[in-house]
């Protein structure tokens, strides 16, 4: 099989590599570029752990071939902090005890990043719906939802229970 040169921008930096067509974008990021922050939880497009932003849109990097990303602008979890300082979403998640084991975390952060760009002030139902393609096995999601609310400018405390 022939190989293809892949040139793209990752987290603002031009990167390149040479791949077989079958190599997934996730494997390209993790194995060829050493960006292991993006995680693989199912490799069939359900769990969302591998979500990255491709030209600003969330995408499963396990469902994209690296060759399909030629010329693209990719943002991964490693690109969120600025010179080692966590961005407001990361800070909000830290404050909210958003995650536990951390494996699903990169996918959530990227999906939330996309959500907040599109809708800077989402309600709880909108948040849950936007995140329903990202599986977390540890938290029961409430702390993640609280983290999004906090990042969107709410104080992060849970709303009054429904009676």
């Amino acid at each position: 099989m022939s190989t293809f040169d892949v040139e793209l921008t990752v987290n603002g930096t031009p990167r390149q590599g040479s791949v077989e067509p079958r190599r997934t974008l996730a494997d390209f990021l993790r194995e060829d570029l050493g960006l292991t922050g993006t995680h693989l939880g199912c490799e069939h497009g359900v769990c969302g752990a591998c979500t990255v932003l491709v030209n600003g849109e969330p995408a499963r990097s396990c469902l994209m071939l690296a060759v399909q990303a030629r010329g693209a602008d990719i943002l991964t979890v490693e690109g969120l902090a600025n010179n080692g300082v966590m961005n407001p979403l990361q800070q909000a998640m830290w404050e909210s005890h958003g995650f536990q084991c951390g494996f699903c975390t990169p996918g959530f952060l990227m999906q939330i990043t996309a959500l907040l760009v599109e809708n800077p002030n989402p309600g709880e139902e909108e948040i849950r719906e936007a995140l329903s393609g990202n599986l977390c096995r540890c938290t029961g999601y409430e702390s993640i939802v609280n983290g999004v609310l906090r990042a969107a400018g709410h104080d992060g405390s849970p709303p009054e229970p429904r009676h």
Binding site: M1, S2, F4, E20, P21, R22, T24, D27, E43, H44, G45, G48, T51, V54, E57, P58, A59, R60, C62, L63, M64, L65, V67, Q68, R70, Q111, A114, L115, E129, A130, S132, G133, N134
Partner: protein, 291 residues
């Protein structure tokens, strides 16, 4: 869980893509958004020798309005269609259906044409195309363009009328008549999953009576199906709960849906009844509001 080896081309024109398909024969597959094909590759359930990536063909990527038709290029991403004003205005049912497809990260890559050509009987877009009498335009290098009615397009489980050398290029949807309402509802195990059963309905009212009723179902057969018995019963009827219930029950009798892990055949038949009733009612209500 890694894909088997295959070759790859990324043409920038439709002609080039059609030539590549012809050159590589039946083992070549067009690659649209990849949201169904790539997992099949990773499971090694699909083994094309060559993928022809359609993403670089700009002529497949636009949404235009042409002679009262909404014309959507096959490579329009579902998320882009979802955000498009013309889709909301001219094809409200499609606009209602798009957010039900998977999740945002799937829709940002998945394409309108890819979903139709993949022809999953549980998917929303094939049923919507069927209900709207959409026209699907296919093109091959040797035979040129042809238009396939949605009713003739879906031929079996994950199978369509497309020939191996053909590419689905666009889908044409006629703007709905006045006083028409539509609705789509589905029951899935979880939010965003392929539905066990889905129903899309359209109701047109004239003088307070049903002038035209249509319903299409997902998940009850190897292809999306219209419940024509229900449509016949409702034509000319008053839009009452009883009429919708009777129509739904009668139409469901002839269904013999497949069973799987998520639901039995009886369950799916029952869901079809419930969802037809619910969507007819909602569509009729919207038709009234539209009047």
């Amino acid at each position: 869980m890694k894909p088997p080896p295959f070759d790859y081309s990324a043409p920038t024109t439709l002609d080039e893509a059609l030539a590549l398909l012809l050159e590589h024969g039946e083992d070549a597959r067009p690659l649209a958004g990849g949201q169904s094909l790539v997992p099949l590759l990773s499971f090694r359930l699909a083994r094309p020798s060559h993928l022809v990536d359609l993403a670089g063909i700009s002529e497949l990527g636009s949404i235009v309005v042409d002679d009262g038709h909404l014309v959507i290029g096959a490579m329009v991403r579902e998320r882009a269609a979802e955000r498009h004003d013309d889709v909301r205005l001219l094809a409200p049912l499609l606009a209602q259906a798009l957010p039900l497809i998977g999740h945002p990260a799937i829709r940002s890559r998945g394409t309108i044409g890819g979903s139709l050509a993949h022809a999953d009987p549980a998917a929303e877009l094939p049923a919507v195309a069927l209900l709207l009498d959409a026209e699907l335009v296919a093109q091959s290098r040797d035979r040129g363009k042809r238009t396939i009615k949605a009713a003739d397009f879906f031929s079996g489980f994950f199978t369509t009328a497309l020939q191996p050398d053909e590419i689905l290029t666009e889908v044409r949807i006629r703007r709905p008549a006045l006083r028409t309402g539509s609705a789509i509802e589905e029951v899935a195990r979880r939010h965003g999953d392929f539905a066990m059963v889905g129903a899309a309905a359209m109701v047109r009212l004239e003088d307070g009576k049903i002038a035209d009723a249509r319903v299409a179902l997902t998940g009850v057969s190897d292809i999306p199906v219209r419940a024509t018995e229900a449509e016949a019963i409702l034509e000319g009827a008053e839009p009452t709960d009883e009429a919708f219930a009777t129509a739904a029950e009668e139409a469901a009798k002839s269904l013999s849906p497949p069973a799987d892990l998520h639901g039995s055949s009886s369950y799916r038949r029952h869901l079809a009844t419930v969802l037809m009733r619910r969507t007819f009612k909602l569509a009729a209500q919207r038709a009234k509001e539209a009047a």
